[in-house]
Structure formats: structure tokens, C-alpha cells
Subunit: 499 residues, 2 copies
């Protein structure tokens, strides 16, 4: 425990432990950070728990932001699980918004930074630290990337900014660069606002790492709903109104678009084509925000994320990391990977908070089992207009890349019996290890009711099931929900013949 | 192998093996029977496979019959997977409809019976036999039970008969006796035809063995949709038009009802009440049709069903039984039970057919592993108007009855995040063994999207998971499908604190 004497009442200089209570500081107030803070306070109410958040919001539902943009959710406060005030009142957590941490001094166990707006600097000692700094959207240094009308989407503030722009300028043509989860969600949100949407994808590969047949189903649904999808069309530059390279003929048509003055976006060049656009959304993936950790000498791992073990420990004693700034353990391969996933962030945050708190409990914490986050299967579900997609575990390429002798089986069935008035086609892909038949991953795509079937595969993967066990599962049947043999059972039996 | 010489060309007397090909006979042409026949033919195309079905239809989707009655499905042929002709053409199976088997002579390996309609008798030798005679609906000997307007529902013919009655007489008030799967399905079908529906349930217990909170959710949905539910109201008798005990005041109101002449149904007496009704549906459960087996001296087991092992073997060599006439093994308790379930019937039929065929393969079948049906978890899903219910494994009462030290945990969550425009409440009940935390069963009830979540629990049960593992599952999250923590994860964590 450090022995500085700085008074806690000074906003710019707080020492640790001034009141005798050890202090846990969490940097970042979203899913992982607030989970860490809440869990620490739950286990050790006597701790002082401080969360430093650089933005105005904490604990928001990041996956709901596209709904806010598209209009399905209108009040942004609906996306907030906590406000800084409610976190304090309900949980006893001190939340400091607008606090941007710029420096981490491990030797002196102290953080320093500035308060946005006032520009005031602050410094804060800690006894235990959780880094939950999240990720930032990739914004490649392409010509035009800083133009008005070019957006990335990560935080709630990003979402509100975009919505405001849409409300104000009513742009009509969007280019969404990137066809990952954010790109696909946002394409739908922009279509919901009656915009023409073109998705440009840099490579010719299937969507989201899906098997080609499942990707085709998703792509058809995009097209059926008026999204143009260009594959193998990497984004080269963003075209500026008034510049010589502006997409030909597009300017005149943009009568109701954003600022007509030169200097706003008028299109993009992607692949070999110039595409007219008065809004460009960059959804090119994210990178972990690990600069603070890196500056302090913490070990970085896969994708440049802060490397942590199953207890969320970084390479420095008493310093934990969790969520989108940290690595995860993949449950199928056992490898350390970088994936961003809300549930995994929550869980890892909780584990980080618990372990950080237990470090400070002294002898009263001795002998209690240390919580662990045993890793992720990378489960994901998404809706694409009226279609649904789910993925879990390894795709075929990832399995082979991990050195496994894997084989993929794809079947087509239906979400419901053929005679049932609703329902539609559903495809299942199973990736299994040859000879052992061990399930390595699975994918589903199809009509309503398809996506959450991936949970069955996630549970089977968690249990280490092989295809024979999967084919024997007693899954629920009634015409409202499934054919007698659920598509997953059909896939498992088919796959059994191929391993 | 028997050596009779009766000619196969005689319709009334066929010996076995007249053409050198051993003969497998299947009694009953629905789910289990046709699965058995198809699987036998698949494994051993050289076998003669004969299916004797007493009715006109084979291989129909029994769970779709209520849709036919309610009007969601109009063409009954949509419910048929095979016709007798298509089974012959596609699979090489000889199907004889209208053939009612009345006698099984194990010593002479011969079946005898009559052909409905013609009244002609027939006799047929077999080398291997699969009994798939199904179940019959319970029709207790109550006064009035044989009146016109009183129906049971089991076969496709039953459904067509009922639909015809509804079309012809447009009855307006129905009493459904029994609140099991058939009763609840049919209550909805009759409401879909704008009838007033009263469900009478003989005991005051929750629906379907659900935990009380989940049953309450289902009951509220019935009421919200205009079904009256009387619990603790055993059916005493069916009231006849013109009889002294006819429900007072009801006759005059039934202006457009069924036959106005005396001798038709006008109500029921259930519990302490007389209820007006011009249609009574008895949905009081089923009994295995095991008379043929019993007459031949086969051992009967739980519920009077033909007792079989995991290979679908009865107590007589070379005789198999499968489906709703046979017992099942419960995967959680290992006990022999009687449950009727379409998927289990299919699977057990397939196992019976495979083993029966392999018996006849001679040395070419030696050493090949014998297929087994390792049992059922009793998984069931159903829709109750806009609500959904799913069950798997043991309920609390069943677990305790099986001698397990069990505890039930019930939580309330939502199918989707609170901010999501659709979705609604969802309850999860988990039944687990104290101390070990082993999952014994689970139930879900709630808005659309709830029911198939039972598959996750079925998979966990199959794998023998405990609550700690269940709480760690990486289930799919996106606002369209689930809160960040799926209700099943919330329930598992809550239950962990209670075991």
C-alpha cells in the first residue's frame, strides 16, 4: 500500500488510501469497466472504487447504437444501464466522467490526465488498477477521411453525432465501408432511414467468415432489401465536393444533401469505382486502446491488446485489464486472441474487478477461490433485415489455421416444417475435426428463428461434444418452432458421415 | 427363419421368405413405424419390408393436426410425409393401409387380422417384427361420452372428422377437457375458429408440470386470449340435449349449433359446474396400444407400454417395438418411462428398424455396431397464443419423486433488452441437485423467442453440465435476440447461490 498524503478533497491530486480504505481505480466506464467496479464493490464494500471515464456516458448498450441511428430506439437514455449519479447512489461507485487518463506510473501507482472541457489536470493514486479502455474504430489515413460527412461509430456519442447529422442534412446516399457486424447493422439502420446504401468490402471473401453458402444467403437478403454490396472493393479515398475527382454526375443529384459548399464528402473511390455518397461510414474494425498500458510497459498480445490471463492479470502485479482493450482466451484452441464481444467484456470485467478487490482484502481474502474467465467461444448473432445469422467457435479457415484437420458440412433445411404457414429456409454449417468428430465451430443462417439456434452449438462446444452426441440431442419440436428434426440435428448427422 | 410355403400372391395368406428374401413386418405406419421401415430398407435393401397400417394414412405430422383444425393449414396432404404409393416408389417399402392386425403368434411368427372395408381376413408371416402401434386417446366411460359432438384427437382422420363437424355445424361453444399439449393446442385452434372455449383441468396443479410462476404466465395468456380455464374441475359427465340435467339456459342460445334434435351434446358437468357446450374435446392423455403385444405375452412396462431396451428389443427375440406404444429410457434418471414424443418415436423407430434388419442380415451383419436409442429428455416446446413454453428434463416434483435432493430456481428476465422495441418478459426455472449443482431439468416461458431456448438446457442436460458450467456458456447476444446476459445465464447464476 502506498503512503502518499495528498488530500482526496483536491480534484487535481488524490493520493491512495487517505481514508484508510484501499482504492481501486478503473479506467473506462463501459461494459468491462463498470462490471469490474460493481463486482469489486459487491465483494468488498469497504473499498473506495473510482471509475475514470473520458466521455460523458457510462455503461451504455453499444450494440443498441445502430437502433438509435435507425430510429427503432429514440431516447438515448434508454441505452444507459447507469448514469454516473445512479452508479454512485446504487452501487457506491465514484464515477468521474470527462476524465481522460494520459499517464500511468506503475512505480508510484498513480494515474494522471486532464479533465475535458476545463482542461484541468488531475492525478490519482491507486492501490489496485483495472484498465478497461476499450477499443477505437479504425480510421485509415486515406485522402478525405477527415471530411465532414465521414463517420465512425463506436461510442454512444458517435451515434448521437451521426443521428444529428442525419436529422439535420437528410443525406440520401451512404457508403458503408466494411461488412462486419457494425457495417451490416449500420447498413440496415441507414436503409431504415430510406437512404440508398452501398456496402464496400475490401476482400472477395464471404461475409463474417461464414461458409460461402451461408454468406450467400445473407448477401441475397442485403440485395433484396436494397443494399448494394461490392466485394473486393477496398476503399482508396473519399472524394471531396468540388475536387476534380468527384464522382461524375453525382453532385447535381444531391439537392437535399449535406453542406453544398466544397469541402464536404461527395463520394468514395473503392475498388475500381467511384461511388456517389453524401455520407460515408467507416466500419473497418477496431483496435484495442492500449497506449496507456503500452506506455507503462505492460505486455501487449494479439492484435496489440493488453495481454491478460484467465484472471485478467496483466504483466504488472496488481494491474488488471478487461474488455475490448484486452486479450481473450479462445475456448476451442486455448489460444490468446483479440475479439470484442459484449458478454465476454462483461465477464472479464467482473473477473478483473473481483481479483483486484481480493488483492486489497488482505488476510480476509485469503483462501477464497480467485474468479477466472475461462474464455470465449466468440458467439455472435445478428439480424440482416428479415434473415438471421449466428456463429460460434472456429470457421473452417480458422480451424485449419490453428493446425486442426477440419472439415465443414453445410446443410439446408427449414426453420419450421414445410406445411407451416410461416418460417423459411435455414442453413447450418458445422466444422468438425476429422477422425475424432469433435465439434470445432458452427454457423446458422436463415429465416426468423435461425440465429439463437447457435446457442445449442455454443453449449455443445462448451461441453466438448462430438458430432455423434450432437446428433443425439433431444431438441424441442413443435411446428411453430422447428421441423421434427431440428436443422442442427440434420447437420450433425450429415457431418458424421464426412469426418 | 420360418419355412412356410404360403404364396405371397394370396392377399389373405403370405408366408415369410417365399422369395428367399427375409421379411420384416412393421405394424403401424406413422412416425416410428415408417422410420423403422425406411431405416431397415436403407441398411438392407434386399429385405422385403411390409408395413401394415390400420388407417388410411401413413407418416403424418401428428403435431400439425391442430393447425388443420384451426385453419392455419388447409390441405391435409401437406401433413403427409409419404403416401403408401410414394413410400413404395421412393423407398421400396410395401405399405398395406386399412390392415388391422388382431393377432400375433410368436411361435409361428405370423400376424393375422382383417382388412377394413372389405372385411377380408389376412395372415402374414414375418422373420423380424417391429411393433409401432402407437397410442390411443383416453376416453373414460363417462355418461354421454359417445354422444355426437364429443371428440378425441389423435390421428389425421380424427382431425379431418373434427374439421368436417366444425365446417358443417359451426358450433359456438367448446369445452376442452384436459390442459396438456393436445388440449392447449386445440383450445387455440378452436379460438382461431372464433369459438368460445373453456378448458377444464381435473386437478388444481400448474399446467404441464411447470413451476407455478411459469404456469401462471401461460394461464394469463390463455385468459388474455379469451379461453376460460377451470382448474380442479374433473369432468363428471357430458350433458345431452333434452335431458333433465342439460345446462340451464344454454339451449336457446345455441341457435346455430349442431343437431338440434335431442341426443346431441349440450354441455358438460365438470367440478361443481354445468357448462354449456356444443362441442366437447376430450384431451385427457393417451395410453399405449399394446394389446397385440400383451396378447402375445410380451412384457409390458411403465404405463402399460411395451417394454424395450436401448436397442428397442422387446422381451421376445426378433420382436422390436418403438414409438408411442413402447417405453423410453429417461436420460436423467435412467428409468424406464412412458412418454410420447415425435422425435423420440422417430429415433426409436429407426433403431428398431436397424436392429430388426441386422438380425436378418446373417453373417454380413456380424460385428457391426448395433444402433441404440439412449433415451429421451422429454423436451417439449409449445406456443400458447403469443406466449411460448419449453420444458426439458425433470420438474421439481419429478426430481424429488426420483429420490433426488432437488431445488428449483425461478427468475424473470426478458427475451430482449428493455430498450428494444419488441420482446417481452421471460421466465426461466432451473431444477438442480443440491450440493453437486448438477442440472436436472429446466423450463422457459415468455414472449416470442423464449421456447427454443430450452434447447440450450437440453444440450446442457445431455452433457451432464452443472450450474457453474451453465452460467459460463457463451450464448449469442444482440438486441434483436437477447439481453447481454441471456435469461438462461441469469437463471444459472441465481441458481448457483441456492444449491
Amino acid at each position: 500500500m502506498t503512503g502518499w498524503s495528498a488530500s482526496r478533497s483536491s480534484a487535481s491530486e488524490w493520493g491512495a488510501s487517505t481514508r484508510g480504505a484501499p482504492r481501486l481505480v478503473v479506467v473506462g466506464g463501459d461494459a468491462a469497466g463498470m462490471s469490474a467496479a460493481a463486482q469489486a464493490k459487491r465483494l468488498a464494500p469497504e473499498l473506495e472504487v473510482v471509475v475514470l471515464e473520458e466521455g460523458p456516458h457510462i455503461s451504455y448498450a453499444a450494440c443498441g447504437i445502430s437502433l438509435l441511428v435507425g430510429g427503432a430506439v429514440s431516447d438515448p437514455s434508454d441505452l444507459l444501464a447507469f448514469t454516473p449519479e445512479s452508479a454512485g447512489e446504487l452501487r457506491g461507485i465514484q464515477v468521474r466522467v470527462w476524465h481522460r487518463v494520459q499517464e500511468l506510473d506503475l512505480g508510484r501507482r498513480r494515474l494522471a490526465g486532464v479533465v475535458a472541457g476545463s482542461g484541468e489536470s488531475f492525478s490519482l493514486g491507486f492501490d489496485s488498477l483495472v484498465l478497461a479502455t476499450g477499443a477505437r474504430p479504425l480510421r485509415p489515413p486515406l485522402p478525405g477521411v477527415e471530411l465532414p460527412g465521414v463517420f465512425t461509430l463506436r461510442s454512444l456519442s458517435d451515434g448521437l453525432r451521426l443521428r444529428q447529422w442525419l436529422d439535420r442534412w437528410a443525406p440520401r446516399r451512404a457508403v458503408v465501408a466494411g461488412a462486419g457486424y457494425v457495417g451490416l447493422d449500420m447498413a440496415q439502420a441507414l436503409r431504415a432511414r430510406s437512404m440508398a446504401v452501398t456496402i464496400v468490402k475490401d476482400r472477395p471473401t464471404p461475409l463474417l467468415g461464414l461458409e460461402p453458402e451461408l454468406s450467400a444467403l445473407a448477401e441475397e437478403e442485403l440485395v433484396r432489401n436494397g443494399c448494394l454490396l461490392l466485394r473486393d472493393a477496398p476503399l482508396f479515398c473519399i472524394l471531396e465536393r468540388g475536387s476534380a475527382s468527384a464522382a461524375s454526375g453525382s453532385e447535381g443529384a444531391l439537392a437535399t444533401g449535406p453542406p453544398e459548399s466544397s469541402g464536404s464528402v461527395v463520394g468514395v473511390r473503392a475498388g475500381g469505382e467511384d461511388l456517389a455518397a453524401d455520407l460515408v461510414l467507416l466500419a473497418l474494425g477496431v483496435r484495442p486502446r492500449s497506449r496507456l498500458a503500452e506506455g507503462a510497459g505492460l505486455r501487449l498480445g494479439h492484435g496489440g491488446a493488453v495481454e491478460v490471463d484467465s484472471r485478467a492479470r496483466t504483466s504488472a502485479p496488481g494491474v488488471y485489464a478487461a474488455g475490448d482493450c484486452a486479450t481473450q482466451i479462445h475456448r476451442v484452441t486455448g489460444r490468446i486472441v483479440y475479439v470484442t464481444q459484449a458478454l465476454a467484456a462483461n465477464r472479464q470485467g467482473r473477473v478483473a474487478g473481483a481479483n483486484a478487490a481480493m488483492d486489497l482484502l488482505g488476510s480476509s481474502g485469503d483462501g477464497r477461490p480467485r474468479p477466472e474467465h475461462p474464455g470465449t467461444l466468440g458467439t455472435a448473432v445478428l439480424r440482416i433485415f428479415d434473415a438471421e445469422v449466428g456463429l460460434v467457435g472456429l470457421g473452417l479457415a480458422a480451424a485449419r489455421e490453428a493446425g486442426l484437420d477440419a472439415v465443414a458440412t453445410v446443410i439446408t433445411s427449414r426453420t419450421n416444417p414445410g406445411y407451416y404457414p410461416t418460417g423459411g429456409p435455414m442453413k447450418v454449417a458445422l466444422i468438425a475435426e476429422r477422425r475424432t468428430g469433435r465439434l470445432l465451430g458452427g454457423q446458422v443462417a436463415g429465416a426468423a428463428g435461425a440465429a439463437k439456434r447457435v446457442d445449442t452449438l455454443a453449449t455443445a462446444l462448451h461441453a466438448g461434444m462430438d458430432l455423434a452426441a450432437l446428433a443425439e440431442l433431444d431438441l424441442g419440436y413443435a411446428p411453430h418452432f422447428s421441423p421434427v428434426r431440428d436443422p442442427i440435428l440434420i447437420a450433425a448427422r450429415q457431418a458424421l458421415r464426412r469426418v
